[in-house]
Symmetry: C2
Subunit: 315 residues, 2 copies
């Protein structure tokens, strides 16, 4: 429990070490996590998702810096996840460049995760890392992902507030792909708003948002209206408005009881997954290996269906 204690006392080395253990699925992390978990639940978790080319990383850096400039600002952590890249070498270099950009910005912690194993695994590891950072006293945690599928949806379900980042000129086809991503947006940002095509992008996105959130039509102030904001992150333009929208969304969640509800859903689904894992492990330990192999062979030879095999195996 040494690491957990040191982390709660604010030791950055202990923090880095435990995050590495969590990322490597080191069994020693478990006990520390039990201790730290009881200190979680305070951070505002903000997911930021967007394709490469939208300038998402630079936007995240700017957001972190803007939050730190506020009075009584919380410590900010950035967790950057890139589950789509099979070429992982870039992550560390990317961090160095980003850290240089954040140099001197006290109270901002950055950590990136390269691709490892299955996407479900990444979502789980990210959840655990976020819990560590939450316990370590980071009041706002920015979880940055490349918007390309189920992994993003899983990771977004971690967050209280999800920002989807777009850029002009990525084409209508791309917008169509992202229909699923828009459904999870609480705030929509069009970055690189100085590029041509920004009006068209804004029009398409507003239309898509309306389609993706039909329940909000005419509800007025009862529901959350997804704001569409324009930024130029390389010049710092529009950043303050995004920070304000994040704060406003946090307030909205608190006032409507939605914050607590999202928290509950997240922890319940985490519990479910852990139970599933545990049940499978128990079952594997108790299974008659020979009988299992025999049934697998019967399936491969098409003598019985997988459904029938399950009837035999699980009673």
């Amino acid at each position: 429990m040494n690491l957990a204690k040191s982390i709660l006392e604010g030791d950055p080395l202990a923090l880095a070490r435990l995050l590495t253990r969590v990322e490597n699925d080191d069994p020693r992390a478990k006990e520390e996590m039990d201790v730290l978990f009881t200190h979680t639940g305070k951070a505002h978790l903000v997911g930021i998702t967007g394709s490469p080319g939208t300038g998402k990383s630079s936007l995240v850096n700017q957001l972190a810096k803007a939050v730190r400039k506020e009075e009584n600002s919380p410590k900010v952590a950035i967790v950057a996840v890139d589950p789509t890249s099979p070429f992982t070498g870039g992550a560390i270099l990317g961090d160095r460049i980003r850290m240089r950009d954040l140099h001197g910005a006290d109270g901002i912690f950055i950590r990136s995760m390269a691709s490892r194993g299955a996407m479900g695994g990444i979502a789980r590891t990210t959840a655990a890392m976020v819990q560590v950072l939450d316990a370590a006293g980071f009041g706002m945690i920015l979880i940055e992902t490349v918007g390309a599928g189920q992994a993003e949806v899983d990771i977004a379900s971690l967050a209280h507030t999800t920002i989807v980042v777009e850029a002009p000129g990525l084409g209508d086809d791309i917008q169509a792909i992202k229909a699923g991503i828009l459904e999870i947006a609480d705030i929509l940002v069009i970055n690189k708003a100085d590029l041509p095509g920004v009006e068209n992008a804004e029009r398409v996105l507003r239309m898509s948002i309306e389609l993706a959130h039909p329940e909000l039509e005419g509800e007025g102030s009862q529901g959350w209206i997804v704001p569409v904001l324009k930024t130029q992150s390389h010049l710092g333009i529009g950043i303050e408005e995004v920070v304000n929208a994040v704060r406003a969304h946090g307030d909205f969640l608190n006032q409507t009881g939605e914050w607590k509800k999202r928290d509950e859903n997240r922890l319940k689904s985490e519990l479910q997954k852990l139970i599933e894992q545990r049940l499978m492990k128990h079952w594997w330990n108790g299974v008659d290996e020979k009988r299992y192999q025999k049934l697998v062979q019967d399936i491969l030879k098409r003598r019985i269906s997988p459904y029938q095999a399950v009837e035999e195996l699980v009673r």
Copy 2:
């Protein structure tokens, strides 16, 4: 078992009815599936994945027609899956247009699935539908998906042969997104090869393929070298070459024993998922509901961690 028997006798109405039951997760489908499963394992399953805008659907139609023109050609089925679209109304209209295009092309069956529930659910339903079509005597089944994430990877893992469709001019950013998709490609097709930028697209894709399949370097004829083919599906140009590549890949899989291995992996992972489902169902039926709710509350109040709750719940 009436439907299964009729399907094995070639009744198209029974086929359509069972596919609907499978899609709706109708429990009556289960018994029929047990019967049909013993007749599966004959079809060549070909996955085709690509973004909207690549002309993938028209390519799939052309492939089906080209296969049907061969001597002793198998019956061909198309299963079109679009897990990314939350707006499902288009699917039926899309089918009508495609069926008109395929009009008079005897022996081609087409079925599309709109988005329902979780992505994992879609992969499972697709697998079941493919089993039904396999048993029904379709010798080649084309499984068409929009390339946008984990669902595609899951569905591709169904297939013996996976074709990834690209088009020129979708930008380098897009190529980067698709790095994960390229890893699953057995055949790469650049459709719309009359558009400007085709040379650049080809160059980027060949480079990406080399990065994604480093194990093949210098292996010569031992491994499968992913061919990069150019087509103009609206004019039927290059289609024959794609059909030949699909056949060649099928032969390669058979000769190397890889066909059997993919078949085994697929059925084993299907069995695993069914066992998981069953275990969770059993566990839920036996759980002390009050105790479970109490532990959930303890987690929400951060008194215990989810890991500790699992220790309590599963012994």
